[in-house]
Amino acid sequence: MDIALEVNGRTEELSIDPGVTLLDALRERLDITGPKKGCDRGQCGACTVHVGGRPVLSCLTLAATVTKPVATIESLADGEELHPVQQAFVDQDALQCGFCTSGQIMSAVAAVEQDVEDVREFMSGNLCRCSAYPNIVAAVEQVRQANATV
C-alpha cells in the first residue's frame, strides 16, 4: 500500500506491505537508523520515537497507521548544537555501548516536557543492559534543574 509519513519535518512517500512497522519503515526504507531494534516486541524501548509529540514504541506501531508527524533522535540536534537532553547525556556519561541511547533520550525528552513526578518510573520502559540508569536519571535531572533556573 502507498502511504505518506511526515518524518523529521519531511514528507516521505512509501509503498509498503501493511505489516511493516514504523521502526522498519524508518530503518529499512528511509535509512533513518537512530531508532534501534532491540526486541521488536515493545519490551526494551530502544525504538522509541515521538509521534505527534508523544513517545511511542515504533516497533509496535504499524507504519500505515501513523498520521501524525514522526520525530526521531536525528531531529533533536540543531546542526552541531546538541539538544539539552543530548548534552546532558554526554555530560553525565549516561550511556556506554549507546545502543539504547536513542530511545532513552526520546523518553527523557518526554520526561522533561511532561515534568514527570518520578523520573525513574517514567524511564523504566527503556532497558539499558550496560546499566547506566543512575547516570540517565542524573541527565534528566540536569535538564530539569537548568529549566527550573531559567
Binding site: C39, G98, F99, T101, D118, C130
Partner: protein, 722 residues
C-alpha cells in the same frame, strides 16, 4: 577530563552499528531455529518458503551454505551453523531464509517445515549431577586439587580439626548476556573481498574466524565494528547471522542483512551456565580459616563448549587458608551453548563463597569485615608469588566508613513496614593481558593517530586510546585521532577479560616510544634540521641546540606526511614474579517489605583497588553497571528451562533485568595505586570485578534484614516468605 569521545555520535543517532548499514540491492536473512532439543533432522521442506513472495534463498543442512572451520589462536574453534543435521538444543539454528525484504524473509521462514527423529532430552542440571563429568583443566590447573598443610593427611582431617564448620550448597541460574544489540550483521561481497559489519569484541578475530569459515585469506575479510551495542562476553565469537549473511552474500552476489530476533538471541548464541556449589569452611574460633572446600558443578551444552570455573575463579585464590580443596565438574545437557559472561567463574563463584563467609561470620558471632581481614592473603594459597599490589584492607576500611557500616545492627532494623539490612562481600578479578598491537602515527599536520583493530563495546576503550596516546606523546588529547573497530588496523585488542586498557595501553606506550625514537633519528640525520645533534623530545616538540620544532614542523622539513611505528605487548616476565588481581569491597543495603516480602536494594557502594584509573568518569560508569549486574543476578535474572529444552522465559518480558526504577543511587570509590609491576600503564581491569561479590552482598543484606538465608539466586518473593 574529556568525556567519552564517541558520546556525541551516540546521542545523536549517528553512531552506525552493524545493521545500521544499508546498501543498494541489499536483501534480508532470517534464521530458522530447531523446535526440539535432541535428535536428528529427518527432512526440511522448504518448498512453500521458496515459492513465497520475494524469497531468493532457503538454506538448511540439506541445502547448506558451505562453511568450513572457524577458529582463533586465542579462543580455539567455534561452532558454525547449518553444517550438520544433528540437533543438540532447542532453538539451534537449522535454516536461513533470504528474501527481498525483512517481512518477506520472516514470513517465509514460518513456512519452513521440519521433521525430526527426536530423542529424549537431558535438560535438568539437578537431575544430571549424578552423572557429572570432570571439567577440563581450568586456568592451568587440574579440575580437582588440594593444598594441605604439613602433617595434614586429608581435607576431611582438616575439617575434623576445625572448631567451627559451616557447610552449605548454593545455586545460581542460567543467564544470558542480553546485550541490547541483538547478534546481527550486514555482509557485502565485492571483488573477492568480504566486508562484514557486525558488533563483535575483536574485529581482527572476527575476520580470522570468517576467513576460516569462508575459505578466504584473512586479508580478504574486512570486519568493521566501530560501535558495538553491548557484548559482556557474548560477542567474543562470530555470530550465526554473521556467518550466514557472509556465506549468503557470496552465494547470491548481493549484500545481506541478518539479525537474530530477541527471542532467538536467548538460544542461538551462548550464555552463562547454571551452577551448583557446595562450600565448607572450617575455622578457628578467632575466624582464621583452617580449611576451605569448594566443589562446583555447572551445566554445559553437549559440545561442552565452556565451563563456568566457580571454584578456580574464587576459592582457589581469595583467602589465606591452611588447607584448601576445590573441584570442578560439568553436566552436559541439551541446552544452548555456554560461554564467557561478565566475570565468568567469579560472578557465580563469589555468590557462593561470599555467602558462606557471611554464614561463618554469623556462626562465629564476628563482624563479616573483620572475618575477611583476618583471612587476608599476601599470595594465593600454595603459591610463592605475592600479589603485586593489594589494598583490599583499605577498600574495606573506606567502604565501612562511607557506608556507615558501624550503624549495622546484628539483626537489621525496621523502617515502617520495611525490614532493612546491610551486607557486604569481597570482590576479586584476575588482572590479565591479551596480546595487542597498536600503531602510532605522527602526522605533518601536528595530529597523531592511535590505531588498533579491537572493539569498544561501551567500555570506553576509544577514549582510553586517546588519553594514553596523548600522555605517551606528550600532546593534548584533541590532537589524537583514535581508531578502533576495524580488522584492517593492527591486530589484537580483544575487549574481553577486563584486559583492553592494560593490553592496548601498554602497546601504545611502546609504539609511542618507538615513533619518538624514529622521529629523533630522522630529525638528526644528515640534511635534517637537527643534523649531528642528539635532540630530545618533550611537549610534542623536538628540542636541540639550535632550538625546538614541533613534530609536524620536523616532518614537513623532512618532506614527510607522516611517521608511524607499531608496538606490541603481551603477558610476559611479570607472570613469573607476582600474582595479579584487582580487589574490591561491595556493600548493599536492602529493604524487604514485612508483608509483601518484596526486596529492594536501597543503597550500594563499591570500593575498588584496580590500579591506576585512566578515565575516571567512564570507569565509574562501567563499575556502576557491573554492580547493577550483581543486583540483577541476586534479584532478577534467570532462565527457566522446560523439560523439553524450551526456554520458558526467553524474551525481555520474561527474562528480568533491572529497569531504572529498580536501581538506587550507586556510589563508587577508587583507591588508586598504579600497578606498574603488571604493566607500564599501571591500570588493571575493572570491567568485570564490579559484578563480583555484589549478589552475595545483596543476599547477605537480606539475611541481616530478615534472618532468612537464601542460597539460590535469583532470590524471589517465595524464598522470603516466613
Amino acid at each position: 577530563m574529556p568525556g567519552r569521545l564517541d558520546a556525541p555520535l551516540k546521542v545523536t543517532g549517528r553512531a552506525k552499528y552493524g545493521v545500521d548499514n544499508n546498501f543498494p540491492g541489499m536483501v534480508y536473512g532470517y534464521v530458522v531455529l530447531s523446535t526440539i532439543a535432541n535428535g536428528e533432522i529427518e527432512a526440511i521442506d522448504g518448498a512453500a518458503a521458496k515459492s513465497a513472495a520475494g524469497v531468493i534463498g532457503v538454506y538448511s543442512p540439506f541445502d547448506p551454505l558451505v562453511l568450513g572451520k572457524a577458529s582463533t589462536p586465542l579462543l580455539g574453534e567455534t561452532w558454525v551453523p547449518l553444517q550438520s543435521k544433528e540437533v543438540t538444543y532447542y532453538g539451534q539454528p537449522i535454516g536461513f531464509v533470504v528474501a527481498e525484504t525483512f517481512e518477506q524473509a520472516r514470513d517465509a521462514a514460518s513456512l519452513v517445515q521440519v521433521t525430526y527423529q527426536q530423542r529424549p532430552a537431558r535438560t535438568s542440571l539437578a537431575d544430571g549431577l549424578a552423572e557429572a563429568e570432570d571439567a577440563p583443566a581450568s586456568r592451568g590447573e587440574d579440575p580437582a586439587l588440594s593444598i594441605l598443610a604439613e602433617d595434614v593427611e586429608s581435607i576431611e582431617d582438616a575439617f575434623a580439626a576445625s572448631p567451627v564448620v559451616v557447610d552449605q550448597t548454593y545455586t545460581t541460574a542460567t543467564q544470558n548476556h542480553t546485550a541490547m544489540e541483538p547478534h546481527s550483521a550486514v555482509a557485502v561481497w565485492e571483488s573477492g573481498v568480504m566486508t562484514i559489519y557486525s558488533g563483535n569484541q575483536g574485529a581482527y578475530f572476527q575476520a580470522m574466524e570468517l576467513a576460516g569459515a569462508l575459505g578466504l585469506e584473512q586479508d580478504a575479510v574486512h570486519a568493521v565494528n566501530p560501535f558495538v551495542g553491548g557484548a559482556f562476553g557474548g560477542k567474543g565469537r562470530t555470530s550465526t547471522p554473521a556467518f550466514l549473511a557472509a556465506a549468503a552474500a557470496r552465494a547470491l552476489g548481493r549484500p545481506v542483512k541478518a539479525s537474530l530476533t530477541r527471542e532467538q538471541v536467548f538460544t542461538a548464541t551462548a550464555g552463562r551456565a547454571a551452577t551448583v556449589q557446595r562450600i565448607a569452611l572450617g575455622a578457628h574460633r578467632d575466624g582464621r580459616l583452617v580449611a576451605l572446600r569448594h566443589d562446583s558443578w555447572c551445566s554445559t551444552d553437549m559440545a561442552r563448549s565452556f565451563v563456568e570455573p566457580t571454584s578456580h575463579g574464587t576459592s582457589r585464590e581469595w583467602y589465606a587458608t591452611e588447607n584448601l580443596a576445590i573441584s570442578q565438574k560439568m553436566v552436559p545437557l541439551n541446552i544452548p551453548p555456554t560461554t564467557f559472561m561478565r566475570a565468568p567463574g567469579e560472578a557465580s563463584g563469589s555468590f557462593a563463597l561470599e555467602s558462606a563467609m557471611d554464614e561463618l561470620a554469623v556462626a562465629l558471632d564476628l563482624d563479616p569485615i573483620e572475618l575477611r581481614l583476618r583471612n587476608n592473603s599476601i599470595a594465593p594459597p600454595g603459591k610463592d608469588l605475592q600479589w603485586s599490589s593489594k589494598h583490599l584492607d583499605e577498600c574495606f576500611r573506606i567502604g565501612a566508613d562511607r557506608f556507615g557500616w558501624a550503624n549495622r545492627a546484628k539483626h537489621g532494623h525496621t523502617d515502617g513496614d520495611w525490614l532493612v539490612g546491610m551486607g557486604m562481600a569481597t570482590a576479586m578479578f584476575p588482572a590479565l593481558r591479551f596480546p595487542a598491537t597498536v600503531e602510532v602515527t605522527l602526522r605533518a599536520d601536528e595530529t597523531a593517530e592511535v590505531a588498533t583493530a579491537g572493539a569498544d563495546p561501551g567500555t570506553g576503550l576509544l577514549t582510553v586510546l586517546s588519553l594514553v596516546g596523548a600522555e605517551s606523546l606528550d600532546i593534548p588529547g584533541e590532537r589524537i585521532t583514535p581508531k578502533l573497530g576495524d580488522s584492517a588496523l593492527p591486530p589484537g585488542g580483544m575487549s574481553g577479560g577486563s584486559t583492553a586498557t592494560a593490553s592496548a595501553g601498554t602497546a601504545i606506550m611502546i609504539a609511542a616510544a618507538k615513533v619518538i625514537d624514529d622521529l629523533l633519528a630522522a630529525a638528526s640525520a644528515p640534511g635534517a634540521p637537527f643534523e649531528g645533534e642528539e635532540p630530545t623530545y618533550a611537549d610534542g616538540r623536538v628540542h636541540g641546540n639550535r632550538g625546538t620544532m614541533t613534530f609536524g614542523e620536523v616532518l614537513r622539513a623532512l618532506g614527510r606526511e607522516s611517521l608511524a611505528a607499531k608496538g606490541s605487548s603481551a603477558p610476559g616476565e611479570e607472570l613469573t614474579k607476582h600474582s595479579f588481581s584487582s580487589f574490591g569491597a561491595q556493600f548493599a543495603e536492602v529493604r524487604v517489605h514485612r508483608l509483601t516480602r518484596e526486596a529492594r536494594v536501597s543503597r550500594m557502594l563499591g570500593v575498588f583497588d584496580a590500579g591506576r584509573i585512566i578515565n575516571d568518569q567512564a570507569a565509574r560508569s562501567q563499575i556502576k553497571g557491573g554492580m547493577i549486574w550483581g543486583v540483577s543476578a541476586a534479584l532478577h535474572e534467570g532462565l527457566e528451562i522446560e523439560a523439553n529444552g524450551r526456554l520458558a522465559n526467553g524474551d525481555l518480558a520474561g527474562y528480568l533485568i533491572p529497569v531504572n526504577a529498580d536501581i538506587p543511587d550507586v556510589e563508587v570509590h577508587f583507591v588508586e595505586y598504579p600497578d606498574t609491576l603488571h604493566n607500564a600503564v599501571g591500570a588493571r581491569g575493572l570491567g568485570e570485578i564490579s559484578t563480583v561479590g555484589m549478589a552475595a552482598a545483596v543476599a547477605n543484606a537480606i539475611h541481616n534484614a530478615t534472618g532468612i538465608r537464601v542460597r539460590d539466586i535469583p532470590i524471589t518473593i517465595e524464598s522470603l516468605l516466613d
